[in-house]
Symmetry: C2
Subunit: 234 residues, 2 copies
């Protein structure tokens, strides 16, 4: 903890004066008043990024789904539940921001209709009709005046293929890919390993960051973003 | 905390030598490696019951879904994720037990098929086919040599009607009904209010326990169970 504080004090303020918006955690999509759909995101990576960005001097807005984590020092935290709520909070926070990091594991689908009352288990089977949630990162990336856009690709197979596809399709500046099928890194773990794909004109540069605690990895990722970020976007 | 410890020391050992199995928390039903279905149960009520039962002298096995709670002193805790896992743990623990308290909010349905890989969001809509989970409490209640069976009914409407129906249908000895549509009690709250329905021959007796902290309510419920419990079941 002392080491952390000393490191924080000596950290170069490489994002001084920059406004950074970061999403973290899962979203919860209600099915009825008691049941929901969610995913295994712990929020640790997004919170570590928010902490690292604040230590680098940025004004950080952290839009978080339901997680059990303390707010990093120096961050303005906005708690949300569903993807729709997260989108509203992000769209409000992202105006005039310099960097947007979409680290939340936003639920891709939500229930077409949320039941007012607890669904009774009358039948042996139940069909849940789901509709697509808004793609928050793609919507931010499509803004006419937009921040530097960084995405995450948490995949279980063909990790780099899916990540590069997402980088291109959503017109991102950078994407961090990780393999959540590995039990030693990713969801719920203390460690993470990332492959960063960085857009360079028409090409893509790849940088590998080996498995390490999420907090030190977050500092490396924030350094990478600060180095790559050029304030000519929009 | 001191008061708690003193009260615990002076508590009558009304369940001394009895074996009590308690389930707590939600279950999580995987959809694919990252997504799941769950519900808003915090596990607080079940953990408070386990603590109160242990303080009353019982040997307690606490079968818990995924929650963020410390294990109550003197309880043997078994952590599980899905309803199927909870059923296996309960069926193993419940043999030769005296009392079974089903406090977990077991997911009523699970995915018919768990995808091996993360489902890609290719389509605008998605249909999830769900099948019914095992009814752990009904299965314990149907055992030829069975413990005193206590259920919970967390309802959002017609609370007592649904609770009495559950008491009869699952052939329980007692059921604790609570209205989870009230924001001041129930899921995630510190307080809870319970109406106990107790089978008396062909009739049902009703006892109301007003809103109070879950830990003091748990002691009252354990006292009620100890008073009603008669070891002639099976």
């Amino acid at each position: 903890e002392l080491v952390e504080r000393v490191m924080a004090q000596f950290a170069e303020k490489i994002l001084a004066g920059k406004r950074v918006v970061i999403t973290a955690g899962p979203t919860r999509e209600a099915i009825d008043p008691v049941r929901y759909l969610s995913n295994h995101s712990s929020g640790k990576m997004g919170f570590a990024l928010a902490e690292a960005a604040a230590q680098a001097g940025a004004d950080v807005v952290l839009v978080s789904g339901p997680v059990s984590l303390p707010t990093p020092v120096g961050c303005l935290r906005v708690d949300v539940d569903s993807a729709e709520e997260m989108k509203a909070a992000v769209m409000s926070a992202v105006a005039d921001s310099d960097v947007f990091i979409a680290c939340a594991a936003v639920a891709d689908y939500r229930a077409e209709k949320i039941a007012d009352q607890k669904i009774k288990k009358k039948t042996d089977t139940l069909t849940l009709n789901l509709i697509k949630n808004p793609d928050i990162l793609a919507e931010v990336s499509a803004l006419s005046k937009r921040p530097y856009c960084v995405g995450f690709a948490a995949e279980t197979e063909q990790v780099l293929t899916h990540a590069e596809d997402k980088l291109t399709r959503k017109k991102l500046d950078m994407i961090f890919a990780n393999d959540v099928s590995r039990s030693d890194i990713g969801f719920g773990c203390e460690n993470n390993a990332i492959t960063a794909l960085i857009r360079r004109g028409n090409g893509v540069e790849q940088q590998d960051l080996p498995a390490q605690p999420k907090r030190t990895l977050a500092r490396a990722l924030i350094q990478l973003i600060a180095k790559e970020y050029t304030p000519h976007h929009g």
